[in-house]
């Protein structure tokens, strides 16, 4: 009975596993405490960066902006792992600060599978803060043609479809037409 009371007060002694570890536990606790003290000593701050950023806008071929979509930046030094990732803003804008010369790629993908890819040529002059230095940027998705060109392309597409059907009809009907019997065949 008394033995049972002892168990309820110090279960770890009954298990026989914790008691030998008490010094080790204290050492660990001391290390963690000291570590926390060091962490609390770190402060945070901010300052305005003097580095130049590359701002880009991403849009659909319909002219709609690619708002709040996933964006990834690939450095010319590592084309497989993203240098930076995030999301475009409400107006389809995304910017990054390049750290090396060369061709940088920015890929923006939406939830439906649309993808726009921008290639930006960064020069040493740009990195050193010069007025110019960003090469021509190209966006993979071309905008939807507007006005007369849109109408022409749409009409061209419909015309192709109707012509295909006309050709298919002609081919089918010519294939089904019975062979003409020569007039003198009965003679």
């Amino acid at each position: 009975m008394r033995h049972n009371i002892t168990i309820s007060q110090h279960p770890q002694n009954a298990a026989g596993g914790f008691a030998p570890c008490t010094p080790l536990f204290c050492v660990l606790l001391l290390i963690i405490t000291l570590g926390c003290g060091t962490a609390f000593a770190h402060g945070v701050g901010y300052r305005q960066s003097d580095k130049k950023a590359v701002p880009l806008e991403f849009y659909y071929s319909t002219g709609e902006m690619m708002a709040y979509e996933e964006a990834r930046v690939f450095s010319p030094l590592d084309e497989k792992n993203a240098y930076l990732s995030g999301r475009t803003d409400e107006f389809g804008r995304y910017s990054f600060i390049p750290s090396a010369e060369g061709e940088w790629r920015v890929i923006v993908k939406d939830r439906e599978g649309h993808m726009a890819e921008a290639e930006v040529q960064i020069t040493g002059e740009f990195l050193s803060g010069g007025a110019s230095g960003v090469g021509e940027s190209t966006v993979a998705q071309s905008p939807l043609p507007q006005g007369g060109e849109l109408f022409l392309r749409a009409a061209f597409g419909v015309s192709i479809l109707l012509n295909i059907s006309a050709a298919a009809l002609l081919v089918r009907r010519s294939g089904r037409r019975p062979k003409e019997v020569p007039a003198n065949a009965h003679k």
């Binding site: 659909y60 071929s61 319909t62 709609e64 708002a67 709040y68 409400e90 993908k109 939406d110 939830r111 439906e112 599978g113 649309h114 993808m115 890819e117 998705q141 071309s142 939807l144 043609p145 849109l150 392309r153 749409a154 061209f156 597409g157 419909v158 192709i160 479809l161 109707l162 295909i164 059907s165 298919a168 009809l169 089918r172 009907r173 089904r176």
Partner: protein, 205 residues
């Protein structure tokens, strides 16, 4: 609803082309000559519908006319969708040539499903039943299309599963709009050109 070029992995693109090939072969098999003109007209409407954008903040979506295609063309809807998507890819850079098989499956398969599910009901003698079936067909066509597009994306990247709900929510208004368009189309055809809908009977026989 188009999946862009360079997005899916080669095995998925291959699977898409294989499925599209089966759908095309099945759709072209025994296509009646008098149906070819109907296929061309429906394909033209599908081709042009993608240029009509429906604004849904923060994005937008375009009409697809999947359900009218399925109800009017039956199994011939697949070749019609394929041809229209090919022209969209070439003329407007919607989707792409490599991903054409995947996109054809994403929009052709729902059209076939709509035809199989609602083809009989829209020819019902009861006008109300036909109208309800037409509306349901329009909604179902869009939602099935989104489900298939989501499935392709999830097969490519499982993280895209999180976006599936957003995709569905964004296309619910489009589904309703397509339901109304399908309802109007079927009602008009029942009154003015009943032979067009009756053509489905000929195909099933």
């Amino acid at each position: 609803m188009h999946i862009s070029e360079g997005f899916l992995s080669p095995p998925l693109l291959t699977a898409g082309w294989a499925m599209a090939g089966v759908g095309l072969a099945w759709g072209l098999k025994k296509m009646e000559p008098d149906k070819i003109v109907r296929v061309a007209i429906a394909s033209s409407a599908f081709f042009l519908a993608s240029l009509v954008n429906v604004r849904i903040p923060p994005g937008s979506a375009h009409l697809s006319l999947i359900a009218p295609m399925g109800l009017l063309l039956g199994r011939s809807a697949f070749p019609a969708v394929f041809t229209a998507l090919l022209l969209q890819a070439v003329l407007f850079q919607f989707g792409g040539l490599m991903v054409l098989g995947v996109n054809s499956v994403s929009m052709g398969a729902p059209a076939l499903c709509v035809y199989l599910l609602f083809g009989r009901a829209v020819r019902s003698a009861n006008a109300k039943t036909a109208a309800a079936a037409a509306f349901a067909a329009g909604v179902t066509g869009v939602l099935l299309g989104i489900a298939i597009v989501s499935a392709w994306l999830v097969l490519w990247d499982r993280n895209m599963l999180l976006s599936a709900e957003t995709l569905f929510a964004a296309h619910l208004p489009v589904a309703v709009v397509e339901g109304i368009i399908t309802l109007c189309t079927v009602s008009f055809l029942r009154k003015s050109f009943p032979d067009v809908l009756d053509g489905l009977n000929v195909e099933r026989a």
